[in-house]
C-alpha cells in the first residue's frame, strides 16, 4: 500500500499539527538559554501558525472529497480509513478554531505561571492531531487510536500544574476515560466479531443483513461504543468526572477540555452515528436521544445552584452537550456542527472572561462578579453576551438559531417527546444563566471587580465577542460549516 497524493492531502492537517507539536517540544527543550518571555512568544506564535495553516488548508479544500488509505471492498464502495469531505472540513474548522482560541487564551502572561509552556503547547497540538484525525476517521481502529491521542494529552494537561487538585482532577478524568476506552473496545471487538470488519461503511452494510440474534449482539456492541463516547463527552450518567476535573484544572485547560476535547468527542460520535453504526430508525439513535434528554436535564438542573463560575460552566456544558446530542440522535450533521461552532466560540469567550476574573479573585465565586456591569462594563457586556448565547435568547441569536436548528431536526424526526424535554431545558438553562447575569447587574456592590485587564486578554475576548456577534447577525455562516 502506497500513499497517493490524495492521501497526503487528506492527512496534511494532522500531519502538520504533529510536526508542529514536535517542533514546539524541541524548541522548548533545546532553547533553554533564551528568556522565558521570548520562548513563550515563539512557542505561541509557532503553535498558532500551525493551527492557522490547518484552518487555511481546510478553508481552501472545504468543498473537496478526499478519501485516504482506501482499499477495494469485497462488496460496496471502497473502504477508507480517513476521509476529508465537507463534513470533515466543518468539524476540523470548529476544532482548529477551538484550538486557536485556547492558544490565544494561553498567550503571554495569561497562562498560569507554574505551567511549563513547551509541554503545554505540545500537548495541545497533540490533542488537536487526535481530534482532527477522529473527525476524519472512517474505521474503528483509527477512531480508537485517534480518541486516545485526544485523551491522553488532555490528562497530562490537567495534571500539568503538578499540584494536589490537578493530580486529583487528572486521576478522575483518566480513570473514567480509560474505563470508557475499555468498554468501547469491548464493544468494538464484538462489532468486529459480528460483522468481520472495522470499516464503518462496511459495518453499516453488513449490520442490516444480520439475523435477529446477531442484531441483538450488534446492538449491545454499538451501545458499548456509544457509551465509550458518552464518557468522553460527559453525557449523563457518565458525567461524574467532569465538574471535578474542570474545577481542578487550570482555567485554560478547562477551556481546552470544554472546547477541543468535547468537540472531538462529539465529532467522533457524529461520524459513528451518521456513517452507519446507527442508521436511521435504529434503536441506537433512540439511546442517543434518551442520553440527550437525560443529559440536558441533569446538566441544567445541577447548574441551577452552583456558586462557582467554573463549576457552573462545567454543568452547563453538560447541558449543552445534551442539546448537541439531540440533533445528533437524528443524524442532522448540519445542526450539530452549527451548534458546536456557536458553543465553541462562546464557551471560549466565557472561559476567557472567567480566566481574567479568576486570576485576580482565585475563589471563583459568582459573587465575585457582582456589579461588574458598572466597574468593568466591557468585560461584563461581553460575558453577558456569551451567557445569553449559551442560553439561546436574543440578542444571542447564534445560540438561538443553533437551538432552533436542533429543535427543527428533532421535530422533523418525529421525536416530539424529546422536543418537549428540550423546551423545558431551554427554560431551566435560562434560569441558570440568569443567575449569573443578575450578579453582574447587581448594584451597589461592596467590592466590585475592577482591574487593568491584560491586553492579550482584552484582544482575545473582544475577538470572541466579535465572532459571536457576527454569527449572531449572520447565523447562516454557522450552518454553512457543514452542508
Amino acid at each position: 500500500m502506497t500513499l497517493t497524493w490524495t492521501d497526503w492531502q487528506a492527512i496534511a492537517v494532522p500531519l502538520v499539527l504533529a510536526i508542529g507539536a514536535v517542533a514546539v517540544l524541541l524548541i522548548d527543550a533545546f532553547w533553554r538559554s533564551s528568556p522565558a518571555q521570548l520562548r513563550h512568544t515563539v512557542v505561541t506564535l509557532l503553535t498558532g501558525a500551525v493551527i492557522l495553516f490547518g484552518l487555511v488548508f481546510v478553508w481552501a479544500q472545504r468543498d473537496d472529497f478526499k478519501p485516504a488509505f482506501c482499499r477495494p471492498a469485497v462488496e460496496g464502495p471502497a473502504e477508507c480509513s480517513l476521509v476529508f469531505e465537507p463534513l470533515t472540513a466543518g468539524l476540523w474548522g470548529v476544532l482548529l478554531l477551538g484550538g486557536l482560541g485556547v492558544v490565544g487564551l494561553s498567550a503571554y502572561r495569561l497562562l498560569a505561571a507554574d505551567i511549563p509552556v513547551g509541554e503545554y503547547h505540545f500537548l495541545l497540538l497533540s490533542a488537536l492531531v487526535g481530534a482532527t484525525t477522529l473527525a476524519g476517521a472512517r474505521d474503528l481502529a483509527t477512531v480508537v487510536i485517534a480518541l486516545e491521542v485526544v485523551s491522553l494529552p488532555s490528562f497530562a494537561l490537567v495534571a500539568l500544574r503538578r499540584d494536589r487538585r490537578g493530580s486529583e482532577a487528572a486521576m478522575k478524568a483518566f480513570l473514567v476515560s480509560v474505563l470508557s476506552t475499555a468498554v468501547m473496545l469491548f464493544g468494538i471487538s464484538y462489532l468486529y466479531g459480528v460483522t468481520g470488519s472495522l470499516y464503518l461503511t462496511t459495518i453499516a452494510n453488513r449490520l442490516t443483513g444480520l439475523d435477529p440474534s446477531m442484531q441483538r449482539v450488534a446492538f449491545a456492541a454499538g451501545l458499548f461504543v456509544i457509551v465509550g463516547f458518552a464518557f468522553k463527552i460527559a453525557a449523563v450518567p457518565f458525567h461524574g468526572w467532569l465538574p471535578d476535573t474542570y474545577a481542578g484544572a487550570p482555567v485554560e485547560v478547562t477551556a481546552f477540555l470544554a472546547v477541543v476535547s468535547k468537540s472531538a468527542g462529539v465529532a467522533g460520535l457524529l461520524v459513528l452515528v451518521i456513517t452507519g453504526l446507527a442508521p436511521d430508525g435504529s434503536d441506537l439513535r433512540l439511546v442517543v436521544a434518551i442520553l440527550a434528554a437525560v443529559t440536558m436535564t441533569v446538566g441544567n438542573l445541577a447548574a441551577l445552584r452552583q456558586r462557582e463560575a467554573v463549576r457552573l460552566l462545567a454543568w452547563s456544558s453538560i447541558g449543552q452537550v445534551g442539546f448537541l446530542l439531540a440533533p445528533l440522535a437524528v443524524g442532522d450533521a448540519q445542526a450539530v456542527v452549527g451548534y458546536l461552532a456557536a458553543y465553541v466560540v462562546v464557551t471560549l469567550g466565557a472561559f476567557g472572561a472567567v480566566a481574567v476574573v479568576q486570576r485576580h479573585r482565585p475563589s471563583g465565586l459568582l459573587a465575585d462578579y457582582r456589579g461588574m456591569v458598572r466597574s468593568e462594563p466591557g468585560l461584563a457586556v461581553a460575558l453577558i453576551f456569551f451567557l445569553v448565547v449559551l442560553a439561546g435568547l436574543p440578542p444571542g441569536l447564534a445560540g438561538l438559531f443553533t437551538k432552533f436548528a436542533a429543535f427543527q431536526a428533532v421535530i422533523d424526526a418525529h421525536l416530539g417527546w424529546l422536543a418537549i424535554v428540550m423546551a423545558l431545558n431551554v427554560m431551566i438553562g435560562l434560569a441558570v444563566y440568569l443567575r449569573w447575569i443578575a450578579e453582574l447587574f447587581r448594584l451597589p456592590a461592596d467590592d466590585p471587580f475592577a482591574v487593568d485587564i491584560e491586553t492579550p486578554a482584552v484582544a482575545m475576548i473582544s475577538l470572541f465577542a466579535a465572532a459571536a456577534v457576527v454569527v449572531s447577525i449572520l447565523p447562516s455562516t454557522l450552518f454553512a460549516l457543514a452542508t
Binding site: 457509551v227 458525567h239 438542573l301 441551577l304
Partner: protein
Amino acid sequence: MIATVWRVAGVGFSLLLVLIAALLYGDSASQHAFLNSQIGEVTIGFAVRTDDLTVLLLAVVGVVATCVQIYSLGYLHERAASYHALVTLFTAAMAAVVVADSLFLLLIGWEVMGACSYLLISHYWERREARSGAVKAFLMTRLADVGFLFGIFVLGVGAGTFRISALDPAQIDPGVLTTGTLLLLVGVVGKSAQVPLQTWLPDAMPGPSPVSALIHAATMVAAGVFLIARLYDVFAASATTMTVLAIVACVTMLYAALCAAAAVEVKRVLAWSTVSQLAIMFAALSLGTHEGRHAALFHLVTHAAFKGLLFLCAGVLLHQVGSAAFVVLRRYTRRGRLRKALPVTFVTMTIGLAALAGVPGFAGFFSKDSVLEAAWEHAHGGSVVGWFVLVSVGLTAGLTAFYCMRLWLWVFFRTPALAGAVGAFEADDPMADLEDPDTSKLKDASWLMLAPLVLLALGAIALGYVDGLHLNWVVALASTVVVIFGVLPAYSLWSRGADPRPVLLEREFGVDRAYHALFVVPVRWLSKLSVLGDRDVVGAYVRAVGRSGALASQGFRLLQTGNVQTYLTAAVVGVVALAVLAGVIAS
C-alpha cells in the same frame, strides 16, 4: 373659577335642551346616522332621530334639568365644579338616550347615566351610606345592563340592524323577539328600579337632593319608561313580554307603595313613591294599547313635574333644617315653626303631594286617571291584564294617598294628641331626648332655590290640563273615592298620634338582606377562593416546579461526592439502565 364656568355651562346646556325642543316642536320625524362601521353583516355606529317623543322628553329633561341646575346654585357650594359638570353630563346622557336612533348610542347614554348617578350619589363621599349606596346603584343597574346589552344583541342580530327606526317586529322571528324584549326588559327593570332590582333606589338617597330630583323626575329612572315607549311596536308584538311587564309593574307598585307607607324619612318616602309611580307607567305600557302608551307618557310628564318638585322641597328641608328625617323635622314642627318659617316650601310641597296623591284638580289626578281609563277600556275588552292593572293601580292610588297624607301631616303639623311630644318616631332615634333645636333662625331658602319650586308647582297643577279635559267621570269618581279612603286613615292615625309601622314593611320585606346573603356573601367567598386558589393551587404548582428544580439541583450536587468510584458505579448502572430502557422502548 372652574366652578363658575361649569355652573354657567350647566344652566346653559339645560336651557339649550329646552330651546332645541322648542325648535324641533312640530317638525316631521327624521333620522340621521353617522360614524358607522361595518362589522360582518351588521353596522355599528351612531344615529339620531327626532319625533314627537323625542321632543316631549327633551322638553321634560330640559325643564327639570334647568330647575335642578338653578336650584343647585343655591343648594350646593362645595365641590361645585365636579357636581355641575356631572349633572350636565348626566343631562347630556339622557338627551343622548332620548335622541338616539342607534341602540348603541342609546346604550351609551343609558350607561353613562349610570356612571354619573354613581358619581353624584357618592358626591358626599366621606359618608359611608353615600359610598355604599352609590356602589349598589351602579352594580345593580350594571347587572341589568348586561341583560340589556344581550337584548340589543338578540334584537339587532335578529333584525340585522341596530337602528331603532329600522326594527320591524314583523321581520323578526317571534321567539327571538320575545327573548330580545325580555332581555331589554331586564335592563329597564334595573334602571327603573322595579322588582326585583328595586333596592338600589332608596339607598341612593344620600346623594344631594337636586340629583335625586333629576334622577327621579326626568332622567335615569324615566329612561326605562322612555325605552319601552320608544320600542313600543317591538314590545307590543310580544305578548309574553307584556304580560311579564304587567306582573312586574303591578307587584312593584304595591310593594313600593307599602314600603313608602312605612318609611320615616322624607326622601325615602319619595324614593319609594317614585318606584311605585314608575310601576304605574309600566302598567299602562303593559296594556299594549295606544291609550296605554299615551297615558304612561302623560303620567311621565306630570310625574316629572311633581316628583321633581317634591325632591327639591325635600332638598330645602335638608338645606335649611339639616335633615329630612321625620324625627328631626318633628322637633321643629311641634313648636309649629316649620310651616311658618318655610312658607313657600310648605305651599309648594303641599301642591306636589296633592299631585302625587291624585287629588282632583292637580296634574297627578289627570294622568293617573288616564292610566286607569286605559286599563278600564282594556279590561272591558276582556283582557285579564287590564283587570289586573286596573285593580293594582286603584289600590296603589289609595296607598299613595295614604302615605302622602301621612308625610304631609307628620312633617308640617303639630299633633294635638301628642301635645308637642316627638311621638311615634323617637323610638329609633338615639337623640330623641335632646333639647329642642333653636328654631328662631329657621327661614326659607334663597330665591334661587325657591324659584324652581314655584315653577314646578305651577307645572304640577297646569300640566294636568294640557292634554285637554276628557275625563271618564265614573273612573274619576271612583279614583277620588279611593283617594279619600286613603287619606282618612292617615288623618285618623295622625290625630291619635300613632304611626304603626309593621316590621315587614319597615324592613322592606327583607329583600335587601336576602340579596346580601344570596349574592354579596357568595361573591366574597368566591373572591377569597379565587385569591387562595391562585396562591395555593396554581401558584403552588409554579412554586413546586421551582422548588423541585432547586431540590433536584441539590440532589445532583450531593451525588457529586468527589469519589471517582461512585461516578464509575453510576456509569456502569447507567449502561445497564440504558440497555434495558432501549430494549423496552424498542420492543
